[in-house]
Every structure is written in structure tokens, then in C-alpha cells.
Amino acid sequence: MSEEAKSRLFYGGPIVTMDDDAPMPEAVVTRAGKIHFAGALEEARTVAGSDVTEVDLAGRTLLPGLIDAHSHILWAAKTRGAPVVDVRAETVPTYRALLAKIRRRVAAAKPGEHLIFFGLDAQLHPDMEQPTRAQLDEIAPDNPIGIQTSNCHALFMNSRGFEACGIDETTETPTGSIIERDDAGRPSGKIAEAITWRALEVFYDAWGDDRLSEEFHASIRDFIQNGITTVTEHLYLPHYKAYYLSALKQGLPMPRVAAYQQAVTADMQVEKLNIGEDRLWMAGVKIHADGSPFIGNIWLTEPYLDTPITLERMDLKPGHTGSLNYPQDYFEKMARTYFGQGWRMSIHTQGDRTIDMVLDLVEDILAKNPREDHRFRLEHCALMRCDQIERAQKLGVLCSFFINHITHWGAPIEDALFGPERAAHYMPAGSARDAGMRISLHADTPMTDPSCLELMKAATTRLAGDGRCLGESERLDSLSALKAVTIDAAYQIGMEDRLGSIKAGKHADLVILERNPLETPHLELADIGIAATYLAGECVWTNA
């Protein structure tokens, strides 16, 4: 009998189903990849019959497999896997140290070797200056190099890098992207938004497919070891498909992938993918309405604070209120087109003015083309205002919060970028929960590491790295936080009938935790051990 077809009976510890009809059954039986039964142990034994493997939880807690509703499982492998050099401020504390590390790596490089350094951070590298093309040429005259910001949205390159990517003074700046130039129109070092990701593909290609396959395996392992059985690929591009298919063909325990194709024009083909039994499917279309709060390209009603970080390291003008990525009519045309084709939309929005614009658009679209179950999603939602949450809720718009911003950048968000009032409602998950919205939480891996338990800790404590709390009123209770990484995350990706809770008929995606997260102090949530992960009834990882 194949591993997948095996029948298993789980008992002997708390079973948190996230199903309101049977929240804490004694036992669960899985069969042929599905949940077969949840209920009393005695009945479970009868139902299971003799050909069953019993799994004694021994006091540990069984939950539905965790879901990260906004991640990039393949792109994480491309962006962060070796040979990308990690220069995030956690280990490379200053800009000077970062440049020194680049020099050491360049000195050890093969002639012509492509090099990417990930993690330059205007908020966390205290002496940061914007690297210029000339400076990078001096450091690396013979190798194409790029320094990517930790928020992923911008890239600084040397001349060899620009050459490799085919970007020069004759290159038109694509709508929605940024190429900084000198007076003669020659790219001066920095590019941002969609063109960044296109340029990086040149480096990833240079490193070859073997490297990517290996790093993709590592990325898969990373999610599975954290009990995450469903992820998204939020910048899906058609040529990614081959890698997932190859992983599935090799029998790798790839979490289920909800793909959201990245749209940069209104005329892209979006394939109605559906591979295997809910292993990879096209969940919708993603568009970046604005950019990152950490490089200044988000659209705000109230300006950024004027501080050394915003004015010097981020190079913003006083009173900066940012802007949209695309001209408004261009963006609206894309959104209307893909919505019109029947796709569910997932819009990257950080600034409140951007959110106003998107909500206006959704209202107009729904007035003209009413659709019952549209599940229009807003991604990240850093500076969403309370009135916007009410409005979103009325329109049926759902928010997915990038709550790890608070743990990783909480101090500069409050002190350097937005001030205490806006910081107290930054990523307003509590207000959205109070409004009755089915929210999700995400780590946006590769931006932060995959762990739904860390997301729960961040959302329930809202503690920044330096120990301060950003907005106690926006804290979630444990149950709301757990819903946001299980059943409500499943709802946002349109799979609440098959994933996100333990209920007969659903996929047997499960995780065993060393402690029950609903009874663990918030501060200790991230330290709960993952004992085992099950995907489609198959045990794909254990800590034993």
C-alpha cells in the first residue's frame, strides 16, 4: 500500500480542528489523503478498522496544516538561496561592513561570476548611503553585481550588472518601474519595482537550473519543517510552472501552492492551472498598486516624518507622500480586465491613499458587474485607516497583513517613518478582526522567514525587536491569530471547503505541535516545537 493511501488514527492529545461544529474531538482518522472521521475515539477505532496505523499524540496537539496566505516559495529559492550573499543588518550591522563583505566576496569571485547581495536596509543599516554605479564599478570592475534591498523592491547594480541585464540609456522605463538616471539618461545605479525582478532573473539564469532546483528543495523543506502545508506564489510567472511540476514528479513534499500571477500589463495570458489534487492552481492575479514603505514609494494622505532616515538614507524630499506604482488609469485598466475575466484579485497596497483608490475602484467595479463571491484581497495593508476597514468589510474586501513588519522594523516604523499615532495602527489586524473580517497573516517569504507561529506571536504581542509594543489595541487573541493562518487563510485563497480545518472530506494536511498554541503564552508561541507535518495524509516530516 502506498504511503498516501494508508489509514491513520490520531489520538492521545488535544485536537484543535478549527471547525466550529466539532472543535475538540478525541480522535481523527485519515484515509487516502483525506480526513475520514473526527469524533470519539471508540467510534474512530470502529470506523478505522484493523488496517490502520495509530498515532499516539502523547499529549502533543494536532492541528490543521498551517497556511501562509502570501508567500513566494519558488521565488524565495531564487532570491535568497545560495549563492546569494546575505547582508541583512542582523549579521552585517553597518553599511561599511556590508561594503567590506562585498569586497571580500568579489575578491573570491571567478572571472565574470554573477553576484547578488541581499538585505541592504535604509532603516537598519545606520550609516547607509545609496550605492552608486560608479562606486560599485570601483568595487567590482569585472563581475556583474547587484545589491537588493531587504524589502525586495529595489536593486543597485554596477556597469557589468546593467550590461548583463541589457539596461542602458536607450532603455525606456517600463510603466510601473523606476530606473534612476544621470543627466545624460544613463542608469545611475538604482532600479525599483517590476524591473528589479526582471533584472534579477538574469542573475538567477546565470547560476543555472541545478542551483535553482537545489535551493527550491531547501525552500520546500523550510516551509514543511514549519508545519506549513499550503503556501502561495504571489508573483507567479508562466515559466515557473516547470519547477513545480518537476518537484511533484520527483515526489517532493511540496506544500500546496496557490498561484497569483503577476500582472504588469493588461494583456497577459493567465492560465487556468490546476495540477494534481489541489497541488498547484491559479488562485488569482496580483498587481502592485504601490511599493514599499521602506523605500518611500507608497501613496499616503499624511507625509512621512522628516528624519535623518527618510531624508538622508532613503533620499526622500521633506513632506514626502509617495505615489502609485502605475498611472491610475493604467492600474485600473489592468484590474478591470482581469476581474472581468473572472479572476480573483490580490492587490499590493501599503499606503492609505492607495487603499482609497483601490476601494473606490472595487466599489465601481462591483456596481457595474456585481459578483457575489469576489474575495477581492488587499495585501500587507500597512497604513490602512479604521474608516477604510469598515468600508472594505462592507464591500467584502479581505485584508492579508504582513505582521512581521512590526517585529523586524517596529522601531524605525514608529521613530523614523510614521510617528507613534500611525505606528499604533500599523498593520491594523485587530481593527479588521473587530470589524468581523476574515483576515490572514503572512511572512511574505523571502522578505521574512516562514513561520506561522512567529506570525501568531507578532500579531498577539505586536512587540518590536527592541521590546516596545506598537499599538496594544491592535493585538489579536490567540484564536483569531490561529484562524488567520488556518481556516481564514484558506478562505482567502478560496479553499475553505477543502483546507484549513480538520473535517471529514477535507485534505488530510495536518501538523503536530509540541504545545497547544491556544494555551501557550503569546510570547512563547514562536518557540513551540513542530513535531510532525502531514501532507495529503502522508507524514512528510518529523523532528524525531
Binding site: 542582523e90 549579521t91 552585517v92 550591522p93 553597518t94 561592513a97 567590506a100 563583505k101 510570547l523 518557540d527
Partner: protein
């Protein structure tokens, strides 16, 4: 929650296999001199404690006659630490030796949990680097060590007697760029003064006047110097903050009980290790307005006279 001042200082030791972490643990246990120290070690079998010093020995715990305890580092670090801290007489300090290759940050979430619970105060983070083997490392291994060193307060450049001065100079230059918030100390057999590890306890009754002295360690008798003072009086808070910010680079450690003119009845416990300083309210155990302050640094860069002069600028009131 226990009073802040009751929090037990917690020190971590990191470093690659063979760098000298266990040697450092032994140094600490031998030099404990009356302090009750609890040490958690990764490789329990490698601990080589003089038979004469041992009181009892179990499978995962050795109790020493001097009151120190050495435990095996197990899965329940948080619980084990909490167990010691909650004892009626908690230890004076806790030391954790991290596992060989692991990222030193792997301990961070446990430490944060213990700190937030008010049980420990994260004190020095020490990293042992093997100077003799550093120059022969593969590029990736060297980079890993550099990354790890950068998140520690004090880096011991150990086995420094086995490398030429030029090689030592190279490591100095490299780390001054790559690990700007770490202080580098050359050691042989990890012979760092225990006061450098724990911060000198500013509680001696003899140093009523400013004094400076050389610290005694087995091999490097004159490597370190200290300056301390003790008097009744008050300090200017703003001036002290400026003074404290000038200390990194001039010393490795500073510690004191301070009183400020804007809140004379709220003594503060000040701690500086490397580039990291903390200040927290101290439980008032004595009525007097005593200020105690001690600074320790490397002899070659230490200027006791200059420290004394700048500290004098901070004092607003002095009665004896």
C-alpha cells in the same frame, strides 16, 4: 514580576568547534571566587573539572564546592534557567555555551522570553575565535565566523600566541570593519579576566576614592586595567548619557549604581558591555546616596586619568 534589579545576568558563549569555548567555561568556573555561577554546556562530556573541586556529579549536572553548578544544555533551556532563577537564593550569574556551528542568534528567542519574564538580564555575548586556524579557513567558513562574531559584544581572539603579529593585525582590521559593535580581545587559553566576563561587581568597600589598578589573570597579568570610584552625591543625567556614549572604544566594560539629580531617590543600575548599554531601576537596599562606578578596559588603550576627568564633569554634587 520580580524587581528589575533581581534579574540574574546571563552570558552567552559562542564559537566554532575547537575554538576554546570549553576552555573559557573552565576559566570562568575556576575564577568564580565566591560568585555562584550556573553554566549550561553543550558538550557535557568535554568539561574537565579538577576532581578536588567537585562536590557531586550526576549524569547531567556537576555541583562544585565553590557553589557553582555545571549543567548539560538540554531542550528545556528556558525551564532549566527559570528553575535556577526561582530558587530562594538565585545564582549570581548564568552562562550558556551555545552549540558549535549553530548561529548564535538561535538562542535569541529563549533569551527574549526569559528577559521579558523578568528573570534574566541579557549581559555579555562572548564569541571565541580561533586565531590560529582562521587564516586557513575556506571562504564560506570564514564568512560564517565573521557573521557570527558581528552579533556578539566581545570577541576573544583566542590562541593568539600561535599566530604572527601581522596575522593578528589582519584579523583586527577585518573585524573592525565587519563587526563594528564587537570588542576584540586577544587571549591565550581564553585567559580573559573574570571581571571582563561579568563586569566587576561595584560593591567593594575599600575603593572609597577613585582608584585604578591592573587586574590579575594567570597569564596576562597586565592586559587589563580598571578605574573605579565611590562617593555620596548626584550626577547630571544628560551629561552622563553623553559620557556613556563616549565609552565604547575606550573600555570593554562599565558598571555602576548611579543617582541622578532629577530623581535622587531612584538609583539606577548601569551596565555597559562592548557597545551595548542598559540602565534599569535598582531596588533601594541602602538609604545612603552612594554612587559606585567602575570601568574596565584593555591596558594599551585605557586612559584612567582621562576617564576620571570626564566623569568628574558629570558629577553635580559630591559630599564625600
Amino acid at each position: 514580576m520580580p524587581e528589575a534589579a533581581a534579574r540574574v545576568p546571563l552570558i552567552t558563549i559562542g564559537g566554532f568547534l575547537g575554538a576554546g569555548k570549553t576552555t573559557l567555561v573552565n576559566q570562568i568556573l575556576e575564577q568564580a571566587a565566591g560568585q555562584r555561577i550556573v553554566v549550561f554546556v553543550n558538550d557535557f562530556g568535554a568539561i574537565n573539572i579538577d576532581y578536588e573541586l567537585i562536590q557531586t556529579r550526576d549524569t547531567d549536572r556537576i555541583s562544585l564546592k565553590n557553589g557553582c553548578v555545571c549543567c548539560s544544555l538540554n531542550d528545556d533551556l528556558v525551564e532549566s534557567v527559570a528553575g535556577f532563577v526561582k530558587q530562594p537564593a538565585p545564582p549570581d550569574a548564568i552562562v550558556i555555551e551555545a552549540s558549535g556551528i549553530a548561529d548564535p542568534r538561535a538562542l535569541d528567542s529563549s533569551l527574549t522570553m526569559l528577559e521579558t519574564a523578568g528573570m534574566v538580564r541579557s549581559d555579555a555575548k562572548l564569541y571565541v575565535l580561533d586565531a590560529a586556524n582562521f587564516q586557513d579557513l575556506e571562504f564560506d567558513d570564514a564568512e560564517t565566523i565573521i557573521d557570527h562574531a558581528a552579533v556578539n559584544d566581545i570577541v576573544l581572539m583566542n590562541k593568539s600566541d600561535l599566530v604572527r603579529p601581522e596575522a593578528r593585525g589582519k584579523i583586527h582590521d577585518l573585524l573592525s570593519e565587519a563587526a563594528p559593535y564587537s570588542q576584540l580581545v586577544e587571549t591565550v587559553n581564553c585567559d580573559i579576566a573574570i571581571d571582563m566576563v561579568f563586569g566587576a561587581a561595584p560593591v567593594s568597600n575599600k575603593a572609597a576614592k577613585p582608584s585604578s589598578s591592573a587586574l590579575q589573570t594567570p597569564q596576562h597579568a597586565k592586559t587589563y586595567q580598571s578605574w573605579s570610584c565611590e562617593f555620596h552625591g548626584l550626577l547630571d543625567r544628560e551629561k552622563f548619557e553623553v559620557f556613556a556614549m563616549s565609552l565604547p572604544g575606550k573600555c570593554l566594560r562599565a558598571k555602576g549604581i548611579l543617582r541622578f539629580s532629577d530623581a535622587p531617590d531612584e538609583p539606577q543600575l548601569f551596565n555597559l558591555v562592548g557597545y551595548r548599554a542598559t540602565m534599569e531601576p535598582k531596588v533601594q537596599t541602602e538609604a545612603s546616596a552612594l554612587i559606585r562606578f567602575v570601568v574596565i578596559g584593555l591596558a594599551e588603550t585605557f586612559d584612567a586619568a582621562a576617564l576620571e576627568a570626564s566623569f568628574a564633569q558629570v558629577v553635580t554634587e559630591k559630599t564625600c
